[in-house]
């Protein structure tokens, strides 16, 4: 026994090779993530950060914290980053921002970036920034892909009576996380994308009350499929909905999935059409450049197709013929500004055309009350504030819960 213990000890010491925490020079950058590489949303951030850092040769200066909940641990980790020499701290989930703001108030010399947040402009803090991609654009384009599939299904006569509502419109479904502007803006853009190809479509949205809950997303999708939906879109982080679509599709039900963040083809080779996604390296490149130059990081950054910050993933084999051309057309039109996703001629609320949508909160009640977002006949999402603000319940979309 003694010999065995001694042997183990020697093995342990001899095999010990690399040490933890590198001794990099230069200002460090702290990264606080809600998940890790096993969670699609955080994985997309990790890839973007690593790519941008590598290009600037600062990858050894990164301090990572994974699986940090939106609780006081976020504040703890902000301070840990500062103690380890970070001069910039980045958080990636909406609820992190309140705890990061607390740290930002106490440490005016340290820069903080809260991705998806909306507190930076409001707080007036010089060291706090927000950023969010114009993901609604890639959602619109993913809607175009879905619209093409619907058109094909209708024309080929593959749909049954339960796939149409009482007005003869094709049923679709959407698995949302929370009834929150970011989600509403996303599914509305997706719906408008579908309508741009096939106008006679309706969509049921059901919320899971979690950003990431595989079982809930799967059962919600199953419920929508049972209800006759032929397309299931999602704003939730797991592969639950595509899995449900794949199972139903393989069993003979005409239903297809449009995912988010990551390519869903590996879990749903027959049902997945594409996913709306982001290339976060575009923002992180800008952010690191500003930081390295010692300049103010944009208080509220937001870009889309024009800089390649958003995109859709590879089209699946199930996509309708001609989809790639329609996608290219929509992408070009968005880039050159001839196509506006939230064009007020393209949707109604309660049967009426919308002329006013407010977007800036001036009295601190978190309800926008000033600055009409509709200019030149369209709502310019993310122009005044990066976090999405479109939250109208447009006709054709029904919230189930």
């Amino acid at each position: 026994m003694k010999k065995f213990t001694a042997l183990l000890l020697v093995l342990t010491l001899a095999l010990g090779v690399t040490a933890c925490s590198s001794a990099a020079t230069g200002d460090k950058i702290g990264i606080i993530l809600i998940g890790d590489e096993n969670e699609g949303y955080s994985q997309a951030h990790i890839e973007g950060i690593k790519k941008a850092a590598k290009e600037r040769n600062v990858e050894d200066n990164l301090v990572w914290f994974y699986n940090v909940p939106q609780e006081e641990e976020c504040y703890d980790k902000c301070i840990s980053c500062i103690e380890q020499g970070c001069k910039l701290v980045i958080t990636n989930s909406y609820g992190h921002q309140y705890f990061a703001k607390q740290a930002a108030e106490e440490h005016p010399e340290i820069k903080f970036v809260c991705m998806t947040g909306d507190e930076a402009k409001k707080s007036g803090l010089a060291n706090l920034s927000n950023a969010f991609n114009q993901t609604y654009q890639s959602r619109y384009v993913s809607g175009v892909v879905a619209g093409m599939k619907i058109k094909e299904l209708v024309e080929s006569g593959k749909l049954g009576a339960n796939n149409f509502d009482e007005n003869g419109k094709v049923k679709t479904g959407y698995v949302g996380a929370f009834p929150f502007a970011e989600v509403i803006s996303g599914y509305t853009a997706f719906f408008l994308g579908m309508q741009s190809i096939y106008p006679d479509v309706v969509m049921d949205v059901s919320f899971t009350s979690s950003w990431s809950d595989l079982v809930a997303e799967k059962t919600t999708a199953e419920m929508l499929i049972a209800n006759g939906a032929v397309i299931i879109g999602q704003h939730a982080d797991t592969t639950g909905a595509p899995q449900a679509c794949e199972a139903a599709n393989v069993a003979g039900t005409p239903v297809y999935s449009v995912g988010y963040n990551i390519d869903m083809l590996s879990v749903a080779p027959h049902a997945a059409l594409t996913s709306a996604t982001n290339d976060w390296s575009v923002y992180y490149s800008h952010c690191f450049d500003q930081f390295i130059k010692g300049e103010r990081i944009d208080v509220d950054w937001s870009e889309g197709y024009e800089s390649g910050a958003v995109c859709i993933t590879k089209l699946g084999d199930s996509c309708a013929a001609g989809t790639a051309d329609e996608v290219a057309k929509a992408e070009t039109a968005i880039k050159n500004g001839t196509l506006h996703v939230f064009d007020t001629n393209k949707f109604t609320v309660g049967g009426q055309k919308v002329t006013e949508i407010f977007r800036i909160d001036t009295d601190g009640d978190y309800v926008p009350d000033s600055v009409n977002g509709i200019v030149d006949g369209y709502f310019d999402e993310s122009k005044y504030i990066s976090a999405p603000t479109f939250s109208c319940d447009i006709d054709g979309i029904t919230k189930l819960n």
Binding site: T5, T18, C20, F65, E71, D76, Y98
Partner: protein, 368 residues
């Protein structure tokens, strides 16, 4: 008619209760357990991650003891966990399996958050007293219900208290949706972040979030009181009699129903107070993850300490130390969080095994 006598053989291995191990020997067993755990997890670290185990242990130690702030964080987290364990102690001592600490803590948290949001005009000290009172009442009521059902209808308390957790989680969800600061964003943010109304102050500094001395003081006081209550009071005696045998308790003239109800009120009240500490003393926010599974971890704390509230101190600190360590290892050594949790899991496993061998022996057939 022949009767074949089945030969009764002893099993090959047998676990035998073993009492009377000397104090020094117990500590020797524990030290061996710690050393073995470090060696085994060291091998795992090398095999899984290829990093120097000594560095990992150093990182782990640094995560909790690297600076005064980190020590305070350790004390902050372990005191909340300890309070929950202390809350479970009286229920467990009467063999009433209260699995509902999570829910009792959450309703205490909701009550605290309610006061923080609506009673901002009150002087700080008064507001804090009001918050303590309502959180204790909320937790007590959450514990009372399963207590009453057990007393009068002999319902299964494990299921009942467990289900009460889910009701509390849904209730928290509902309150968050009522108090959320942006339409549908599902967060209440930090409550009173400007005026700090209802924030538990530091004991040594006037700043918030710098020291958690008052949290520690409150918890230690409750821990001592609970120890005295269970060990020296008449109530405590009644609890242990009911725990040993309900029939004996009845024969001795103890009102078992009353003991069930009274003890669950107390158990829930202490867990409710933990909700107050979490909201007013730590996060200044409320969400469904405010309890964060600590109500369940507290069951481990209470059991490992064999319901002795002082032993719970060591267990709570150890669990929080391992938890902090796991996060820091994942960060500094750039390994997946699950790898670091395997490491802390291995350490915990050996410590538990060590405890097992202080009171049990394994006997091999034929050896006496």
């Amino acid at each position: 008619m022949s009767v074949s006598h089945k030969k009764h053989t002893e099993p090959l291995l047998r676990v035998v209760k073993f009492e009377g191990m000397s104090r020094s020997r117990r500590w020797l067993v524990r030290i061996i357990a710690v050393l073995t755990s470090l060696i085994v997890s060291g091998v795992i670290i090398v095999l899984l991650a290829g990093i120097n185990p000594l560095k990992v242990y150093e990182t782990m130690f640094r995560a909790s003891f690297g600076s005064a702030r980190l020590v305070w964080n350790l004390l902050r987290d372990s005191s909340t966990l300890l309070l929950l364990g202390v809350g479970l102690a009286p229920a467990f001592a009467m063999r009433f399996w209260n699995i509902g600490a999570e829910g009792q803590m959450l309703v205490g948290g909701i009550a605290t958050a309610f006061c923080m949001k609506y009673f901002t005009g009150m002087p700080t000290m008064l507001l804090i007293l009001v918050m303590i009172t309502v959180s204790v009442i909320a937790g007590a009521l959450w514990g009372l219900l399963p207590g009453v059902f057990k007393a009068f209808w002999n319902t299964n308390e494990t299921l009942f208290t467990l289900m009460m957790n889910y009701i509390a989680i849904q209730l928290t969800s509902f309150m968050v949706s009522q108090w959320e600061i942006g339409a549908g964003n599902n967060t209440v943010g930090i409550i009173n972040s400007k005026g700090h109304e209802g924030w538990l102050p530091g004991l040594f500094t006037s700043q918030y979030n710098k020291d958690f001395g008052i949290n520690v003081l409150i918890v230690l006081t409750v821990t001592v009181l609970m120890f005295v209550y269970l060990k020296y009071s008449k109530h405590g005696y009644e609890i242990s009699v009911v725990g040993d045998s309900v029939n004996t308790a009845r024969y001795a003239g103890i009102n078992v129903k009353k003991v069930y109800i009274r003890t669950m009120l107390l158990s829930g009240a202490v867990c409710g107070l933990a909700g107050f500490l979490a909201v007013s003393g730590v996060s200044h926010s409320i969400s469904t993850s405010t309890a964060g599974g600590r109500g369940f971890t507290a069951i481990i704390v209470a059991w490992l300490a064999k319901f002795n509230t002082f032993s719970m101190i060591a267990i709570a600190v150890l669990l929080c130390f391992l938890d902090q360590g796991a996060l820091e290892i994942a960060s500094s050594c750039n390994v997946n969080t699950y790898v670091s949790k395997i490491i802390t899991g291995v350490i915990l496993f050996f410590l538990l095994a060590g405890e097992f061998f202080t009171s049990y022996r394994i006997k091999i057939r034929g050896h006496h």
